[in-house]
């Protein structure tokens, strides 16, 4: 069977190479800057906070502004993405060394820099980047390298990326008195001992994929991702209550292997409707198995307006290390009451709308589009959330010649 499959790939790859593009048109050097400004608002509530052992409020609000800039000059692209997630949560008070009012604020600040270059024959592109993310009790550094190959006819593309995250879970960097990593944060009543001797978490991810244009109206993609994590995978401020009422800190294995297989199919139906479909299968060695199916329908009301609904259904088989409040036995080696790792179903439904005027504001700034997206997230174990995202896209044309509608 495997020889049959490899032989078929080789057969079709041979014929794909025989096509060539029309090179009679002259090409100008691209020189533009793409700008995206976005804001996301997240409202969550639930009853199974892991900070308090699987019971208690999960009420949380996140204010998330962000910006993305991409400058393309010829075959080179430089991009920067940054933002800040401001988190207001009642459960934060059960974590930090600084105890204050009922709804304390925390923030995650992040930035990523990336570079990509299309090589001379325009079939290959290489990319690389680095980034960081910092919270009061978490600091992450990331590195990425990748490559993409597209045959001359542009009907298919392959990519492979490697990402590495080097994380430090110690608190103190953002505290004005310390301004350096000090220690792990445990639940306030359990700070009489050091529960973990490791404070680092490293993640290594290999992403690969293939996209194929099937015909004039259909595009498919197949993606495979393998992720390996090593180090402190427990969250040190998560409580676990054993069945005999003993209180301990969550304890998970210090390595984890994850695998994800994804399929995407986009189809232009009729003259105005696009159907975007995703199927995702996930497995890891914590015992979690997940299956997700999504559909988004985009209806082009007019050349400038489009809107449509989206749906997602996710089914998760929980980790073997999970048990609810006071259901873990004291003899267990690994235990968590984090309901994110439990058995549940998730439903997401919502809608999005987009206005695409493609109109110039001034001589060089092209207003591309504005998008609003709303989703309602409901998990079968009583967690629910509202997600609203507003994004604004524009292009600054750095070249001397402009095109598009003039205002």
């Amino acid at each position: 069977m495997r020889y049959l499959i490899f032989g078929t790939f080789a057969f079709y790859s041979y014929f794909a190479k025989s096509q060539s593009t029309d090179s009679s048109a002259t090409q100008k050097k691209i020189n533009k800057t793409e700008i995206e400004v976005l804001y996301s608002h997240y409202l969550q509530d639930g009853d199974n906070s892991a900070v308090t052992g699987g019971i208690g409020t999960e009420k949380l609000t996140v204010y998330a502004p962000g910006i993305y800039l991409k400058r393309t000059v010829g075959k080179n692209s430089f991009s920067i993405k940054g933002g800040i997630d401001i988190i207001s949560s009642a459960s934060t008070d059960n974590i930090d060394y600084v105890v204050s009012s009922a709804s304390r604020l925390d923030a995650r600040t992040y930035a990523n820099l990336d570079y990509s270059r299309t090589l001379k024959n325009e079939k290959f592109a290489i990319s690389g980047g680095a980034g960081f993310s910092i919270e009061s009790d978490y600091f992450s550094r990331a590195v990425r390298l990748g490559g993409e190959f597209s045959p001359s006819n542009k009907m298919r593309s392959y990519f492979v990326n490697v990402q590495m995250f080097f994380d430090d879970l110690r608190w103190g960097r953002l505290n004005w008195e310390h301004r350096k990593p000090v220690k792990l944060i445990y639940p306030s009543e359990l700070r009489d001992k050091e529960w973990f001797t490791v404070h680092n978490r490293n993640t290594y991810a290999l992403n690969s994929g293939l996209t194929q244009i099937i015909n004039k109206r259909n595009v498919v993609g197949v993606f495979l991702e393998l992720i390996y994590q090593k180090g402190l995978l427990s969250t040190p401020f998560h409580r676990v209550y054993f069945s005999d009422s003993t209180l301990v800190v969550e304890n998970l294995p210090n390595n984890r292997l994850k695998g994800v297989l994804g399929f995407k199919w986009n189809s232009f139906v009729g003259g105005r409707t696009i159907s975007r479909n995703v199927l995702n299968v996930y497995m890891d060695d914590f015992g979690i198995i997940g299956l997700a199916a999504e559909n988004e329908t985009v209806i082009k009301i007019s050349p400038r307006f489009s809107l449509g609904p989206h749906l997602r259904f996710y089914l998760q088989q929980g980790s073997r290390y999970f048990a609810p409040f006071m259901e873990h036995r004291p003899t267990e080696n690994y235990f968590t009451s984090d309901f994110d790792l439990s058995k549940f179903r998730t439903y997401i439904f919502g809608f999005s709308g987009r206005y695409t005027p493609n109109v110039y504001m001034g001589k060089k700034l092209l207003f591309n589009n504005i998008t609003i997206r709303y989703s309602y997230f409901k998990r079968s174990n009583r967690l629910h959330a509202h997600i609203i995202t507003l994004s604004f896209n524009a292009t600054f044309n750095n070249s001397d010649n402009t095109s598009g509608d003039k205002k």
Binding site: M1, L4, I5, T8, Y12, Q19, D22, E36, L38, Y42, A64, G131, S133, E135, Y138, N153, M155, Q163, F165, T203, A205, N207, Q212, I213, I214, N215, K216, N218, V219, V220, F223, L224, E225, I227, Q229, K258, L261, G262, K264, F268, I274, R276, N280, Y282, D284, I288, V298, Y314, S319, D340, L341, T346, I372, R373, S375, F377, R379, A385, I387, T389
Partner: protein
């Protein structure tokens, strides 16, 4: 049973790859539409981030692999 599943997947792949045609630039009106691109679109990235935190799993092809935050 496993052989039947493998054979079915193989036949489906054969049909997909067999139906692939080469499109000329003027035939790419539909596939070049912004909404037809396979990648993650505006507004979806934050939603994927929420899903990666509130679910134990991960998304293939979304660019977010886990790590980088105090989540799963």
């Amino acid at each position: 049973m496993k052989t039947r599943i493998k054979l079915s997947l193989y036949i489906a792949l054969l049909m997909i790859m067999g139906s692939c045609t080469t499109l000329k630039p003027y035939q790419r009106v539909y596939v070049d539409d912004t909404a037809m691109q396979i990648g993650v679109h505006s507004g979806e990235a934050f939603e994927h981030y929420v899903e990666s935190i509130r679910e134990g799993g991960a998304h293939a092809g979304s660019g977010k692999s886990g790590g980088g935050c105090g989540c799963n």
